[in-house]
């Protein structure tokens, strides 16, 4: 395949009539395509090709990494697809991908299923994702417990006075329901991580279609409370320090507090491989944890992993 593509990359100097050139082009592209497919089918053993699939939260990050890595190592092809964490892990269990992306930890049942098929999933933390709760700088409130935020969003507290602020109505802002951040916030904050809890967002929560919408409303409106990925929060908005339980320490989100796990609304993002990675996959994962690759993490609004 490399031989053919090199030959094709340097067009022949002799003059060839257009029809013939088209024919040659067709033949060559056919050959290249057929080489490609034969490589694909052998991708698990081949050292040239990495199949990377899973979480939609990570998909943009994985794409950015893959692009950067391929431009530095042109001999490696990385294909990235989304579909959700479950899809990625299922593909790993069926041994159709080299690396599975997941925004949650692998479940016990999934590990059992994998082992029954001779797969041994190994976990790699590749980035972290933190959600900052933001308010207008004029708002006097700067500390909240997780329970208070849950009560605000579920509609039990409707005035800032209820959490030690001024006498103002609370305007709750959220992302649309199709956003992964929305679901994560629902599970971790509104339901406080309790799977049986059926608490929902209060009906009068404003569902804004973009992060930008939330940020511009919080910037303008002293009644508003919103949330967004830590990397997207501009400096002129006020982030709330959050305590996990009553009487606990209030922690502001930052790269340091996310990495030492004191900030409660943060999660690790994972990649899973079958067994300890070897060869090209190992090189790729090592590169992902390098400072250069972790810089991309910060650029995309996630929290870099500090070793």
């Amino acid at each position: 395949m490399i031989f053919f593509s090199r030959l094709y990359a340097r067009p022949p100097q002799t003059i060839i009539p257009p029809m013939k050139r088209l024919l040659i082009f067709l033949i060559f592209s056919f050959l290249i395509a057929s080489c490609g497919t034969s490589n694909n089918s052998a991708s698990n053993s081949s050292a040239q090709y990495i199949e990377n699939k899973g979480s939609d939260t990570i998909v943009n990050l994985a794409l950015a990494w893959a692009e950067q890595y391929q431009s530095e190592h042109p001999e490696v092809r990385i294909s990235v697809t989304g579909g959700g964490s479950g899809t990625g892990i299922a593909a790993l269990i069926n041994n159709t991908v080299g690396i599975a992306n997941a925004s949650r930890q692998i479940k016990k049942e999934e590990i059992a299923e994998a082992q029954s098929k001779g797969i041994n999933p190994v976990e790699h933390i590749i980035a972290r994702d933190a959600i900052a709760v933001i308010v207008n700088p004029k708002n006097l409130v700067s500390e909240l417990t997780l329970k208070q935020i849950s009560d605000i969003y579920s509609g039990k507290i409707t005035n800032w006075r209820g959490v030690g602020g001024e006498d103002r109505p609370i305007v709750k802002l959220s992302r649309e329901t199709n956003s992964g951040t929305h679901v994560y916030f629902l599970e971790t904050v509104l339901r406080l991580g309790d799977k049986k809890d059926k608490t929902l967002f209060s009906m009068d929560t404003l569902l804004l279609p973009s992060s930008e919408g939330i940020i511009s409303e919080v910037r303008d409106n002293p009644n508003a409370i919103g949330y967004d990925g830590l990397g997207y929060v501009p400096k002129d908005l006020k982030m709330i320090a959050i305590a996990e339980a009553d009487g606990g320490a209030y922690v502001l989100p930052s790269i340091a507090t996310v990495n030492d796990k004191t900030y409660p609304i943060a999660r690790d993002l994972y990649m899973y491989t079958n067994g300890e990675p070897t060869g090209i996959i190992k090189e790729y994962l090592d590169w992902i944890l390098s400072p250069a690759a972790q810089e991309i993490v910060a650029k995309l609004g996630f929290v870099p992993v500090i070793k």
Partner: protein
Amino acid sequence: MEKSLSWREFIITRLIQGAGYSAIVFVGLIFFFLLREGLPALGDVDITSLLSVRWYPIEDYFGILPLITGSLIITLGAALIAVPFGIGAAVYISEIAPRWMREILKPLVELLGGLPSVVLGFLGILVLSPYIRVFLNLPTGLTAFTGSLLLGGIAVPTIVSVAEDALDSVPRAYREGAWALGATKWQTIWRVTLPAAKSGVLTAVMLGIGRAIGETMTVMMVTGNAPVLATKLGSIFSPVRTMTATIAAEMGEVANGSAHYHVLFFIGMMLFLISLAVNIIASSVVFRAKKRAERILS
């Protein structure tokens, strides 16, 4: 020679006929597609659940009532703003304004009509909604009222443009007749010109309302999208979620063939039926008015 002429005649007639029928065919196909994708929603979701007041599709709450009331209240607000304003502007341009003024105003209004709605939405978020929040002392400026104002602004150019054409086509003799009888300018406009142009003005209003109810981008940006049932007129000052914004925001991520997918198409079907109803009412009013006029004339 004659034969080729009749051939040409035949082909051209058929082409024009085809173009005419194609409109019906397309509407029919669209409605068929909406029915095919939307009706299964009735099987997937209980009708009582569809008529409930909670819209939270990721946990299988599919109450579409808040979305319907949201769309209706915004459209009603937009109509209340756009109709008097639009007809007033049309009357001014067609009846009162001097010629030079008219030549400036008409293209300007048409330019306003070509403004992309996302631009209006952007202005709405950055300028209008903060101002409304402070001025009316509301918790947030992202309300149905903000949406109504902007939608009114979107509907006005359509209404002005069509209504002005209708007023313009009223024969000059009508006005001269009225003046000869000693009617003032206002009396002429109110009692003669406007009634004479009634069907065109009504078409203008319906087109404007149709534009408002189908508008998506602007309302998605400025109305806050909270699916709260609008039960009273005061709801216009709180956030609402419209049918169009719901479809736009959720269709991209929905799993093909799921209950949520079918319900979204069901909402599309409802929108289609609402605009169909508006059009039927409008044309029946026009039709009845014509009949009466014919009776009087005969």
